[in-house]
Amino acid sequence: MSAAMDKKPSAPHGDLHDLSVTELAALLRDRKVSAVEAAQHFLARIRAQPQLGAFLALNEDATLNQARAADERLAAASAGPLEGVPIAHKDIFVTRDWPSTAGSKMLSGYRSPFDATVVAKLKGAGAVNLGKLNCDEFAMGSSNENSAQTPIGFSAPEPVKNPWDVSRIPGGSSGGSAAAVAARLTPAATGTDTGGSIRQPASFCGITGIKPTYGRASRYGMIAFASSLDQAGPMARSAQDCALLLSAMCGPDPDRDSTSLDLPEEDFSRQLNDSIEGLRIGIPKEFFGEGLSADVRAAVQAALKEYEKLGAKLVEISLPRTELSIPVYYIIAPAEASSNLSRFDGVKFGHRAAHYSDLADMYQKTRSEGFGDEVKRRIMIGTYVLSHGYYDAYYLQAQKIRRMIADDFQQAFRQCDLIAGPVAPTVAWKIGEKSDDPVANYLADIFTLPASLAGLPGMSLPVGFGAAAMPVGMQLIGNYFSESRLLNAAHRFQSETDWHSRKPAGI
């Protein structure tokens, strides 16, 4: 074994990092490669290619211990569905053996006494944790330029770069996850999606990601941003891989999360190969307005043609309040965040200012030093819209329109089985391009926010390339609990196309 640990793994099917989760799991099960070999292969790649700034923390001992345990289970034929498969976690999930920072200075070096439920479930299914991935601070952002943490291989905070063009953003907030998967630094990663934080970076980095129905995956151990919106989901190269991972991540958590749904665990792979003959795909006209750039429009429309070839029927539908979802989301999410982030006060854990005159000063200096600009902005917005005299006009009004938006979807699903459209109006933009224009960032979330507000499952799959040869993703939105159907539709598309297996140059 130890001999095998030292030499480069000799994988019969090419380089291990080119294998999908499904392929890798099969190799491991057949003992053609050991979990330790797989873990070492990816740890070596991560060490060798830190320039993307995707990883924030490694703990090789902990990784290899998990890998050895996986090999023992594989030997004992008591292996889980993901036994030995390396995976990395967005640093919004707390982990016992890796620091958990949420990309914030507030939590530099924070050690959690417990693992997030999603992390524990993946470990239970046999997955081996490679480390923690960079993200926007407290998952607030869509460019990953808001991380205050220093990636491995760097000496100061550094924005994550898009493997398809390192001068561009990977998207966010799960930008580290998307970049790492696209660059083959990990076969798969976890992400979280509050207003598009899985779907948009997946789209920008040319990978596949899915956000399940709100309540499918436990939020216990996910550092909270907006409680009524946050959902965990997998990010990988294919719908088939996502289905495998999602099945391991979801399930009720009655003792830990009151909002986790009482639904039995589900095998989201079971419908992957079903025919989509006659599938009615709704095309919301509001998703194809003048806000949508021509290159993205062309790629998405080509994909829709492909779906017609596969036997699907396209139906025009309307989601009339699509534009309203921007103000509604950017009131509700900051309101919840302003309250969720009050626990960061320098008393029990996290950053505390070095110098202060009294308690009030300690609070203010601690929070002003610990939080970055975007987080402060959202805390300010949230505090304001909940404050006396403004609650009804802003927060309550937003929650009412939120219901109208959710009802619009139920109307639409009378005419169609699932909804398709762009994930974002453009491809990934240049680092720094929008960094001093918060509102411009908010507006770019327009297509992912409606499903988030309604708590619906949504995913992004690569459907081509747009401006500057950057990847374009298409969004599929399903009704509540229809993840299997979404993954089925995506898998059928990926069975006929190869957009999802394209690699950035030099990877």
Partner: protein, 99 residues
């Protein structure tokens, strides 16, 4: 509507954030930009619409799950306090609280 610098000061105090003059002014501009896109939302007629706090509630009835009254958390003070900025004899220390 437009936020004044005194609004910014009031909100910052509520949120326990310290904003130097320049930062406060930039914050004021950015928040006013944002509330510009919020105006549309305020005009929407929502008479008789129930606010939606829990997304899935549009789709199915939801009710708070209740836990049996059992104690199952052992003392893990050491692990729970490992990140504490200031401790003494198991207590978290803060600047004197004046009542």
């Amino acid at each position: 509507m437009s936020l004044t610098s005194s609004d910014i000061a009031r909100i910052a105090k509520l949120a326990r954030l310290e904003l130097p003059a320049a930062e406060a002014e930039r914050m004021r501009t950015q928040l006013n930009d944002f509330f510009g896109i919020v105006e549309k939302m305020r005009a929407v007629d929502t008479a008789g619409i129930e606010p939606l706090e829990h997304p899935v509630a549009t789709f199915q009835d939801i009710a708070l799950r209740l836990r049996e009254d059992r104690v199952s958390e052992p003392n893990q003070r050491e692990a729970n306090q490992q990140n504490a900025p200031a401790l003494e004899r198991g207590l978290f220390l803060v600047p004197k609280v004046i009542e």
